[in-house]
Symmetry: C2
Subunit: 120 residues, 2 copies
């Protein structure tokens, strides 16, 4: 049986009519046939609080588990204040904790943006 490259995608915009969510879908359509893409929606992940490290919210546990299972990560994010959205920074902070339990370690990550502002 052929082994497919498993990609996990997520978007740094939460709004319903996000441009970055369809960007992920479009990228998915263009991928080689020997890849699979799963898209994870970040809506349920709260602002990171280290007090939650020992008892991570279920959404964060699931997110970390999906990252761990994936061969590579694909991020689509809007550009706010000249960098990736706070939503993206927050979920990276959250998922990379606690110390020594960072599923992003040694994982290839690609980042892209459907930036629509004047300075994008």
């Amino acid at each position: 049986m052929e082994t497919k490259l498993a990609i996990l995608g997520f978007a740094g915009s939460l709004r319903v009519c996000s441009y970055n969510k369809p960007l992920l879908h479009t990228a998915t359509d263009l991928l080689r046939e020997d890849t699979t893409v799963e898209i994870f929606y970040l809506d349920g992940i709260p602002p990171f609080n280290r007090d939650l490290e020992m008892d991570m919210p279920a959404t964060v546990k699931e997110f970390k588990s999906k990252i761990r299972e994936a061969d590579a990560i694909l991020i689509a994010t809007p550009e706010y204040s000249r960098s990736a959205s706070g939503v993206i920074k927050n979920v990276i902070d959250f998922a990379s904790r606690a110390l020594g339990d960072n599923p992003f370690n040694d994982k290839p990550i690609a980042i892209m943006s459907a930036a629509t502002g004047m300075f994008g």
Copy 2:
């Protein structure tokens, strides 16, 4: 009557035993007598979602109003993944929206960190 310089401070860590919250308090104690500092706690600010722009959550409205009233901003943030916390990035994204209603415009901002990690 003397006019005092009004500073608004906030910390990029939400946990109870944050190092950056007392850092703000310590900085406050060291300030000149012709300044006042108000500390705003970011706990109630959700992940930014542009769908909320037209009807901002009450905490965000209050945060924006405090920024607008202040002469200067003082931020204390932990360092996560080699930069300011996602919590900080998120509240900056949120408060600086909607387009044309950014209270940070032309506001002096200082940022400091009680970074406790090996790479801080």
